[in-house]
Symmetry: C2
Subunit: 168 residues, 2 copies
């Protein structure tokens, strides 16, 4: 079920306790390495925005309260940005900035937030969150307050992904 | 009072309301552009880790519950990562990765978190937060839960900055 795993990882942090910190040493154990949303190329999945140079750009299904929130999943199983070779991290940065420019063009947000965390799923991925002045707490990180998990349907997600894609 | 402004910006998010979102159009209005911790070069300030290629690396005074938390302040007043020319953002990325490697060598954290937010102070800066398995909520973003604001003294900060600096 494409996307189910990815939804789960974005929700799972709150449920885990200290002793459950994932020890993910290889792609064989990694949820992201196994998720068809990432492994199956092409644009069939409603969350898929694009295959970029060294990463896959997808909508973050759970964070659409911040409309246009997306993430880039790096093509290989790496845990830390600085473990990449400089050329690779520059290409990843270029993917992130290309997506940022497209999100900016699509939604004209007041600010863009970038986060590379990986606490719950330590496969390198880069969050991009558009912020508006109309946000309830615009000067705070989105994690500081609970926000509604909108249930966008597949067609709505597809339309959103398409909007961003045309501005890439 | 070097550092006071920077401390303030990192605390100020919680107090501001929607209508107070800063509109910082130029360096003349920017707190970071005016902060002596950034403008005065050299290592005199207890929070200062190093002057890097295109940014200043400093300890985050308020986040030392996550020991070693630091940030890189970009040398010019820019608000968004993708507004930089590719060469500049690559150099900024290299500064971030150099600091990340030093923080990793110094503290051997379980994970490193990166965040480029700028909601409260929209002058490009890059947060680096070492995460441990002993963190109270190791799989969550640090903003999801309150954490103590440790009051490290200047000598403690200097020692911490020096530890990281020797591993750069």
């Amino acid at each position: 079920m494409p996307g189910v795993i990815l939804c789960r990882i974005l929700k799972s942090a709150r449920r885990r306790e200290a002793w459950e910190v994932p020890e993910v040493a290889s792609m064989d154990d990694c949820e992201l390495c196994q998720d068809p949303l990432i492994t199956e190329k092409g644009l069939d999945h409603p969350q898929k925005i694009a295959e970029l140079d060294v990463s896959t750009a997808i909508l973050n299904r759970d964070w659409q309260y911040y409309r246009g929130s997306a993430l880039l999943v790096f093509q290989d199983h790496v845990t830390e940005l600085h473990h990449l070779e400089p050329e690779m991290r520059h290409r990843f940065m270029e993917d992130a900035c290309r997506l940022a420019a497209a999100v900016e063009k699509t939604f004209q947000p007041h600010k863009l937030n970038h986060a590379v965390l990986g606490n719950s799923v330590p496969h390198l991925h880069w969050h991009l969150i558009p912020r508006r002045q109309s946000d309830p707490h615009p000067t705070q990180a989105i994690w500081e307050n609970d926000f509604p998990q909108l249930s966008l349907g597949d067609e709505e997600l597809r339309a959103l992904a398409e909007q961003i894609r045309t501005n890439l």
